[in-house]
């Protein structure tokens, strides 16, 4: 099994890892192994990384810092196919406004901001449910996913990257916000593909097929 592909779902105690792993397994070929791990070795040995996350920014960063995997994670994010999901997108940024301000991993320059719905009194918070992602770039991870497909979201903060060229998808909840980012070997999405039925499964399939370029 020399050419078996190892995909590590990073476990730092924050998130519905089982659902993410199950969705990836559902579309994985027989020579792909999905492993859930909190060990730096499993991150270093992986061919591709899935970085999920749920909960508050402060708790996520605390869990990451305490897990002693930040360094290995940063290394992986710079060289391997890397899929960030929900908080796994937000903590890649420089800084989050959540919890009175939290410094994040700073892999991508930009902020995480709270929705301002003051001019949209009819809209609810959190942004919870199925909304459309408008694909703003042609990317391998959007392969076979219809333009403006609906994905399942649940969040109250969104990312605002400094470099607008890395925006891969946009969604509207009141105002338009960045719902997916693509930069080199890294792709990150605010929605939960593991809970987004066919569109989400296709995204996982595309990720498993992706060489990071």
């Amino acid at each position: 099994m020399a050419d078996q592909k190892l995909v590590t779902v990073i476990d730092y105690g924050m998130g519905n890892l089982r659902s993410v792993a199950k969705a990836a397994e559902h579309v994985a070929g027989s020579n792909t192994r999905i492993c859930i791990s909190s060990k730096a070795d499993d991150i270093a040995a992986a061919d591709a990384i899935i970085f999920p996350g749920q909960g508050a920014a402060k708790a996520c960063m605390k869990a990451l810092n305490e897990s002693n995997i930040s360094h290995t994670l940063m290394q992986a994010a710079s060289e391997k196919p890397f899929l960030g999901i929900c908080m796994g997108l937000q903590v890649l940024m420089t800084h989050s406004q959540e919890n009175e301000g939290v410094d994040c991993l700073d892999i991508l320059k930009g902020d995480v901001q709270q929705f301002d719905l003051s001019t949209y009194p009819e809209l609810k918070m959190p942004h919870m449910g199925w909304n459309q992602i408008h694909q703003t770039t042609d990317h391998p991870l959007w392969h076979n996913i219809e333009q403006d497909s609906r994905f399942y979201f649940v969040h109250s903060y969104f990312v605002s990257p400094h470099d607008k060229h890395i925006i891969a998808g946009e969604t509207t909840h009141g105002n338009k916000f960045t719902s997916a980012i693509a930069q080199d070997n890294l792709f990150a999405i605010q929605a939960h593909p593991e809970k987004s039925a066919d569109a989400g499964l296709q995204l996982f399939k595309n990720f498993l097929d992706w060489n990071g370029q």
């Binding site: 089982r18 909960g55 959190p126 942004h127 919870m128 449910g129 459309q132």
Partner: protein
């Protein structure tokens, strides 16, 4: 382009089996919650809610297996309610693959539990279920109170104030069931749903009383709900989730088709 209103089929599960009756023509084992959940997923359900009505604590473990099985085959959000009383209960359900848990009576007996659960797991996975009954009489301003034990026991708590309090404690969503309407197939209590929905910023799921597709539409347009929950209208093959969505779209409601 905006957020779609959600349709949520609800399955009452007793000791690992769907009760209240589910009749699909082409499902051999209609009482199997996994088969039923798969069917609703295929029909385009936006989420699925499992309500564990198992009487004894001893048999509660079975719902965990149900959730595990469903979560490995159905890739849409799953909510589990019924008997969620501790942070450990929440953790067990989330680990099994649930995305949200619905807290009902435990919120009434111990409101701090809602805050503890939200602080531990995040508001996004904590739904507070509110069972309300109208207590005002004709010519009085509308007033609803919280009831427990399937609507039999009054608490004296004002439903609107309670909804606001749950939002303050961190709840991510409210599941509002009218105990007057539940099981009647005469439509949601629209005034109750609307009054709560207009009083909080978090999403409200309307529940209790759906008999027709138009009831689902009314829950959104007149009840101001973000999502509508129904059981028997789907269980007996009267309508599919797809038909419900088409009816909603016809009314100008944004849905995921």
């Amino acid at each position: 382009m905006s957020l779609a209103k959600r349709i949520i089929p609800c399955l009452d599960v007793d000791n690992g089996r769907v009760v209240k009756g589910v009749q699909f023509v082409d499902i051999r084992d209609a009482g199997n919650p996994i088969e039923v959940a798969k069917r609703y997923d295929e029909q385009g359900a936006d989420e699925i809610t499992f309500l564990d009505i198992t009487a004894t604590a001893h048999d509660r473990g079975t719902i965990v297996h149900v959730v595990e099985e469903v979560a490995s085959q159905v890739f849409i959000p799953l909510t589990v309610g019924g008997g969620i009383r501790s942070v450990e209960d929440v953790r067990t359900m989330l680990n099994a693959g649930a995305d949200k848990v619905a807290i009902n009576s435990a919120a009434i007996f111990n409101p701090a539990f809602v805050k503890e659960a939200c602080d531990t797991f995040g508001s996004q996975c904590i739904v507070v279920a509110i069972d309300a009954k109208k207590v005002s009489i004709e010519n009085e301003p509308d007033k609803w109170e919280i009831f427990t034990h399937g609507g039999r026991k009054e608490t004296g708590i004002d439903a609107i104030e309670w909804a606001k309090k749950m939002e303050t404690l961190g709840a991510g969503e409210l599941l509002v069931t009218s105990m007057d309407k539940d099981g009647t197939k005469s439509g949601f209590d629209l005034a109750l749903t609307r009054t709560i929905a207009d009083s909080v910023k978090i999403p409200v799921i309307a529940s209790g009383g759906v008999g027709e597709l138009s009831d689902l539409c009314d829950g959104i347009t007149q009840g101001h709900a973000e999502a509508v929950l129904a059981a028997s209208i789907f269980h007996f093959g009267q309508h599919t989730v797809q038909e419900a969505k088409q009816a909603m779209q016809k009314e100008g409601i944004e849905v995921r088709l």
